[in-house]
Symmetry: C2
Subunit: 271 residues, 2 copies
């Protein structure tokens, strides 16, 4: 049962299904689920939610504990604060971190935990570096992810596009998404790897509006210190690159606003 | 223990670790692992490999059974054979499939099962559409994945690039990978979403050579029927788009060479 539930996050599984699968009485299934629930809680794996009634069942919602999130974000901040990550133009090399399945798992877990109580229908990001974050988050939410493109590709069919102002460079750019990628009314979570002025994220918000869909939230892996007005206000960042000194080749990375925005983190437990 | 092992594919866990974690004797840990092993085998989840001796332990290797792989590939072929997927130029719309975490899980499982007996140090793909496949495969192999780029980005630091001939269009193009992405001597698995002439895959092979690394294998999600000589021969495809008729707007998709290349699929069981 553990394996079955872990493989299907946020999916309601009727107790009768397990009873038939393991040829057991519903009462002993309930007992075993109680053990799994306690273990999940104790190890910080997630919530095992029981919905009573004929249409009920059990649902596994992966979460991260406040302690695990803090430990992970601290470790990332330390890893990112090395001068050899500094690239020309004040960018930070992240490809190794965002290519590590274990790190991506933690990122996806941390982002999705914010939306334990909310319906999310899809995760959106922009190509290329946001994709691994979107995929990992989508795995934990068990919803599809869609990829917005800055370059127009012929292999996507008809698209809807928007113009947006890149906040850091003040250039007008264009992004587009295949028309059939998103249904109207969908509740969409925006994720990205790095945010400076917020122009790209703002572009995605406009794109979601063009699809008559709704933005549930915005979370970026890292935000850069930015002098000036952010184009979006209501975002969450796991990390903040708050000092970049290209002369000394030093940078300083701290925790973003993740914990401020999630004061109740890990406190919700319906049982 | 199930949860712990599932979360760490291909990682050797000493029995003493579990004994300490659960405050149990090694003998009862061994007994429980026996139950998990049988369940994993019965459900086709994977192999639980026991390495004896002081430096030994237990390792979970995720696999797919021949039956599950056949069922999955058949379902994909059916899904892909709809005329509304046909795009101008003989391309096929795959973004919805490659944005579905459940489908990606099966793809990753099917690809990684081929390398149960081999050391793989990294998975490589080219941006953009290959990324979800690389990430999913890397999760099952528990190794990093690296993303080759066709466009030169300033945010990656110094890169190594190669020129390659696009097999389908016979144009000379360029692809590059950040210099620090790959270590020399690494054993690299190439994956991609779609292959026509094999030019892109061949470019990645050259790039791996430039890094003094080694290509372990090549697997693509779908290959297109291609008139002419493929630029690579030693590849595996899960699916084959064997008839595209842009006039009638019909296409026909069948199983690729996956089962031919993996006759022993699911047969290996060391215990």
């Amino acid at each position: 049962m553990t394996r079955y539930l872990l493989a299907r996050p946020r999916t309601l599984v009727p107790l009768t299904f397990f009873a038939a699968r393991y040829e057991s009485a519903k009462s002993s299934i309930s007992e075993d689920l109680g053990i799994i629930r306690r273990t999940f809680k104790q190890r910080g794996t997630g919530i095992l939610e029981t919905i009573p009634g004929a249409a009920g069942g059990v649902r596994y919602i992966p979460t991260i504990t406040k302690e695990d999130a803090a430990k992970f974000i601290d470790a990332m901040a330390k890893k990112m604060s090395t001068s050899d990550r500094l690239l020309p133009g004040g960018y930070v090399y992240l490809s190794d971190l965002l290519g590590d399945p274990m790190i991506l798992e933690q990122i996806g877990r941390a982002i999705s935990t914010q939306y334990v109580n909310e319906r999310v229908d899809a995760v959106m990001t922009v190509a290329t570096k946001g994709i691994p974050i979107a995929q990992s988050t989508a795995e934990f939410l068990n919803v599809p992810f869609v990829i917005v493109r800055r370059d127009s590709k012929i292999t996507e069919g008809s698209t809807i596009s928007v113009n947006y102002v890149s906040g850091s460079s003040s250039r007008i750019e264009k992004m587009e998404l295949s028309k059939r990628s998103l249904k109207s009314g969908a509740r969409v979570l925006i994720v990205d790897d790095f945010m400076k002025g917020g122009g790209t994220v703002n572009g995605m918000k406009s794109l979601i509006e063009e699809f008559d869909a709704e933005t549930v939230g915005i979370t970026v892996f890292a935000e850069a210190a930015f002098e000036g007005q952010h184009l979006v206000e209501d975002y969450t960042s796991l990390l903040k690159v708050d000092q970049i000194n290209t002369l000394d080749k030093t940078l300083h990375v701290t925790t973003g606003n993740y914990f401020e925005n999630n004061p109740e983190l890990g406190k919700r437990d319906p049982q």
